[in-house]
């Protein structure tokens, strides 16, 4: 990992930067306190006129009841605060790392005993134990620091333990063990270095907590008399609150500032070290890439027949464009996609991860991720514009006539609500007048259709198997008898036999209820069986669209050919799989030429310069390749047979 990245990340969070400056500034102040030429913080005024001096030019923070300079005392107090914070946090972190990694790594009864110990110590109210220790053993600052440390280590130990438990199963750790690494080597080379991040975060927050604990003790009169501590200043100043409030105000402010800075820094470190928490781009504020401002939303006019299937189908998509704002870039997830779907038709959308196929599904259902923006295009459902003609136009279509089955049904259902409740709510939302009995009847009916036992209604999602959960998701999507379903990888991550059941259900439904289907998948085979037409997506664009048989027998885009020839087959002769050089292209920023050109063996200068237009190969067969009609690119699959 590179430090440089972290610094630029820090700069993104002004509050984190500010808190870093405060913490570093305070640390410098604490270190330099003896050399700043401040009045001696313990020196009492010989002169009574120097007592209770109000804050002013002479004494910026005034003087106290002994005439001691408060500014000097507050700055010297910083020294103690840092001592307490650093030593307590360091000791408890060290203890936590040690015990936590032993527990997590060795597991078994060692872990059992240690983990229970952590839990027990986590429940012991630390402050009261510290009070007891200090009351019994005397108010010595080192004892106080030690007491704070030994009452706060268990949190760190728990974090370390869970980190180790996660990291232990990471493949690189398993790999290292498999190569013959010793346990110690694995622990110190791989596990501890990778597991420290949250401990650093929590350690920073512990620093603030240690300062507050010491101050709290001092405030109860248990502070070390020989130290200059903010807590003691407040403790001693409170009796003079009415005459000299500054005695209390300034040390408290100093403490608030330092503790808040430490906490903000901890949060910030967490954000920087944990990529999941990073703030993504904000599409409302970022400037669009050039050349896009002109591409507007299509008017509500008749669609021009530019696709293979002529005339107005159930769904007409024209130049649909949706970008993601990621970091400082726009990712062209869906870039000018056009297709049409006939009533009762089935269209498969195939592509590799990151090609934009799932984004296309989300855009069609108009559930955009927060950092996404639809930049143009038109979507017409049954002859009516639903993309940009105001909210109402889609409301009449959403879920009632067009619904969706999401990828990973594992998480697509709310884990804390029973299945029946989730279906019933969706039904009532769109049919507010429905009575109890009607809702129940409809759910039973749909469960019967999909082959879910009725008693499963009372289950929570986690009580169902993967296949059953996916069936429930399908039931949810069919609840209102829609005309079109957009299914995004509905059978992925299921075992082959279960996958076959799910696909069979979808097949049955289509033949029985005249359902139209858009099936999004990475798997050519799955799509081919269910859909009459296939559209292939690459880097945000549709590169080829054709009837299913044509996609396999006569693919006219080099990428489609590669996909068809790269998948091993179970039947027929065994031929050598072709593979593409390089990696899938991520469409970011301004682009020129064909996006597939860098990996294409047919690519010419023309391809690198000019974006190909959509070529009509045959009725209903379109390819976005300059050479779609050139016989040189005819599929040469199966030329190299393997015996």
């Amino acid at each position: 990992m590179k430090g440089a990245n972290y610094w630029t990340d820090f700069a993104r969070y002004p509050t984190v930067l500010a808190s870093l400056i405060i913490v570093v500034g305070a640390a410098v102040l604490a270190l330099l306190a003896p050399y700043l030429g401040l009045p001696n913080p313990e020196e009492m005024a010989g002169d009574l006129s120097e007592l209770y001096v109000r804050p002013g030019a002479e004494h910026w923070m005034g003087t106290d009841n002994f005439g001691r300079d408060m500014l000097s005392r507050v700055i010297w107090g910083t020294r103690l605060a840092f001592q307490v914070a650093i030593v307590a946090s360091l000791v408890s972190t060290l203890l936590g790392v040690m015990l936590g990694s032993i527990a997590g790594y060795f597991g078994g009864w060692v872990d059992h005993i240690l983990a229970r110990t952590f839990d027990v110590f986590l429940l012991i109210p630390a402050f009261f134990l510290v009070i007891l220790i200090v009351a019994l053993f005397g108010s010595n600052i080192y004892l106080i620091i030690l007491a704070i440390a030994i009452t706060s280590w268990s949190g760190q130990a728990r974090i370390m333990r869970s980190q180790v438990l996660t990291l232990k199963s990471r493949t690189y750790v398993q790999a290292s063990l498999g190569m013959g690494s010793s346990h110690l080597r694995v622990l110190f080379r791989h596990i501890v270095p990778n597991g420290l991040a949250p401990l650093i975060t929590n350690g920073t927050i512990l620093m603030g907590l240690a300062i507050l604990t010491e101050a709290g003790l001092s405030f109860l009169g248990l502070g070390d008399q020989s130290t200059i501590s903010w807590g003691r200043m407040i403790f001693e100043g409170q009796s003079q609150l009415r005459v000299a409030a500054w005695l209390v105000i300034f040390p408290g402010l100093a403490m608030l500032l330092l503790v808040a800075a430490l906490n903000l820094l901890g949060d910030g470190l967490n954000q920087v070290l944990d990529p999941n928490l990073r703030v993504r781009g904000n599409p409302e504020k970022a400037p669009l890439p050039e050349g896009l401002s002109g591409r507007g939303v299509a008017e509500d006019g008749p669609a021009t027949g530019r696709t293979g299937s002529e005339g107005e189908g159930l769904l007409e998509v024209r130049d649909l464009t949706m970008f993601y704002h990621l970091g400082d870039n726009w990712v062209r997830a869906v870039d000018g996609v056009s297709f049409s779907l006939e009533r009762d038709g089935g269209l498969g959308i195939v592509g590799e991860s990151g090609c934009g196929k799932s984004s296309l599904g989300l855009a069609l259902m108009q559930v955009l991720p927060r950092n996404a923006k639809i930049l143009g295009g038109s979507v017409r459902f049954d002859g009516r514009e639903i993309l940009n003609a105001g909210d109402d136009s889609f409301r009449s279509v959403r879920w009632k006539r067009m619904s969706t089955v999401f990828q990973s049904a594992m998480n697509a259902l709310n884990p804390v609500l029973k299945v029946r409740q989730q279906l019933a709510e969706a039904y009532r939302l769109h049919r507010p007048d429905a009575g109890r009995a009607e809702v129940q009847e409809r759910i039973e009916e749909i469960f019967d259709t999909i082959g879910i036992p009725r008693w499963r209604m009372e289950s929570y999602p986690h009580e169902l198997s993967g296949g059953m959960r996916q069936r429930v998701m399908i039931a949810l999507s069919l609840l209102l008898n829609p005309e079109l379903i957009i299914a995004d990888e509905p059978s992925t991550a299921l075992d082959v036999l279960v996958q076959d059941q799910i696909l069979a259900e979808i097949d049955k439904l289509r033949s029985r209820t005249n359902l139209s289907l858009i099936l999004i998948s990475h798997d050519m085979g799955t799509v081919a069986e269910t859909c009459e037409r296939i559209a292939v997506m690459y880097a945000g664009q549709l590169v080829e669209e054709a009837p299913t048989d044509a996609i396999f027998s006569d693919p006219r885009h080099p990428y489609t050919q590669a996909l068809v020839n790269a998948v091993p087959r179970l039947t027929g002769r065994k031929h050598e799989l072709t593979s593409l050089p390089g990696e899938p292209f991520v469409p970011i920023g301004d682009l020129r030429g064909c996006r597939f050109a860098p990996r294409c063996s047919f690519a010419t200068d023309l391809c690198r310069q000019q974006e190909p237009s959509r070529q009509r190969v045959d009725a209903g067969h379109i390819s976005a390749c300059h050479f779609a009609l050139d016989e040189r690119i005819e599929n040469r699959a199966g030329e190299r047979l393997l015996l």
Binding site: T15, R116, L122, L123, I124, P125, A126, F127, F128, L129, I131, L132, I133, A135, L136, G208, A215, G216, F219, L220, G221, I234, Q238, L241, R242, A245, V248, I249, G252, M255, L256, V259, A260, N263, L264, V279, R280, M365, V367, R370, R398, W399, S403, F406, M410, N411, A412, L413, N414, P415, V416, L417, E425, A426, L429, H430, Y460, H462, M473, L476
Partner: protein, 321 residues
């Protein structure tokens, strides 16, 4: 049946916590400088009582027997006798519990309600200006030393504006019963509850913001958005219950810190609860009270964690009973 077994197992899990607390207590007394009997009875206890202590705790017996006797005493509810008041520690503590409970309960209720609500509101637009402002304020709020905040409130509302009483729980002249008395107590409660809840509002804003934002990234939220639920329903019905789970967990784990804050707040406002008792005990070096308070606070925290676990089991059907 399963729920009962679950509750039983959770209660059983508290036993080691309480045992550890008592054993630590015992070890500390023995490790501390000075005579154990004096620690337990006080410097100026009369010799007869001192003898009694030596006999009851078996101070001339082997170490392990002393431990068992000590455990036995505490299990029977005998936490010793206060040096100062010469009353049993248990009685002293129980007498103070209602006041502390009132302060902690009020403050936590306010903090949970406002904090969770504000956190959920800003979580819908992470990264916005409002979000940054609220989040930073929240961090500042829970970084405030609560006793200092208390003193500042005293200074502003009590000394400067003279709006509210700054000390104790009752006024000398107020009615002794009925609604008038309730209002009087409420009036006294405002400032300490304000101090304590401010700190915890900060904590809950932060927690609920993180947790709601995380839930909003879940797939099932996309599902309900696709179905077309209004955003208000999505937040209140679909997101909040899931988002509350981590908040509930932390609520239990941080009970110790809440009580710490309460003790310090009570000290500032002379609120006649456990905190005030501890403060007075520290001033008088009244060890039985300090030890008793430590045990009592541990039991409170353990009970809070029990309640949290049960609440969690109610909220989350995935908990294996």
């Amino acid at each position: 049946m399963r729920l009962q077994r679950y509750i039983l197992s959770r209660i059983l899990q508290l036993i080691p916590v309480i045992l550890t607390v008592i054993v630590i207590n015992f070890l500390l007394i023995h490790l501390a400088p000075g005579d154990v009997a004096i620690t337990l009875a006080g410097e100026d206890a009369d010799p007869a009582y001192m003898e009694e202590i030596r006999r009851v705790y078996g101070l001339d017996k082997p170490f392990y027997e002393q431990l068992f006797r000590y455990l036995g005493q505490i299990v029977q509810g005998d936490l010793g006798i206060s040096y100062r008041s010469r009353e049993p520690v248990l009685v002293e503590i129980l007498r103070r519990v209602p006041a502390t409970l009132m302060l902690v309960g009020t403050s936590l209720f306010i903090a949970l309600f406002i904090g969770t609500w504000a956190g959920a509101m800003v979580a819908r637009r992470p990264g916005s200006l409002l979000d940054s402002a609220v989040s930073t304020l929240a961090v500042a709020a829970y970084s405030i030393p609560v006793f200092w905040l208390g003193l500042m409130l005293v200074l502003f509302f009590g000394v400067y504006l003279k709006w509210l009483p700054i000390s104790g729980m009752y006024s000398l002249v107020a009615p002794k019963e009925g609604l008038g008395r309730a209002f009087d107590v409420l009036n006294h409660l405002i400032l300490p509850a304000l101090a304590l809840s401010t700190v915890w509002i900060g904590q809950y804003v932060r927690l609920s913001r993180t947790s709601v934002a995380a839930v909003y990234n879940e797939q099932y939220i996309t599902t309900v958005r696709a179905i077309g639920f209004p955003s208000r329903t999505i937040l209140l019905h679909h997101a909040l219950r899931n988002a509350l789970l981590p908040v509930v967990t932390v609520f239990g784990l941080q009970m110790g810190l809440v009580l710490t804050g309460a003790v310090l707040t009570e000290t500032v406002f002379s609120w006649p609860g456990l905190g005030r008792l501890i403060y007075d005990a520290i001033l008088a070096r009244d060890m039985p009270i300090i030890m008793g308070a430590y045990v009592a606070m541990s039991i409170c925290v353990a009970l809070a964690s029990l309640i949290t676990d049960l609440l969690y089991a109610v909220l989350d059907p995935r908990v294996e009973l």
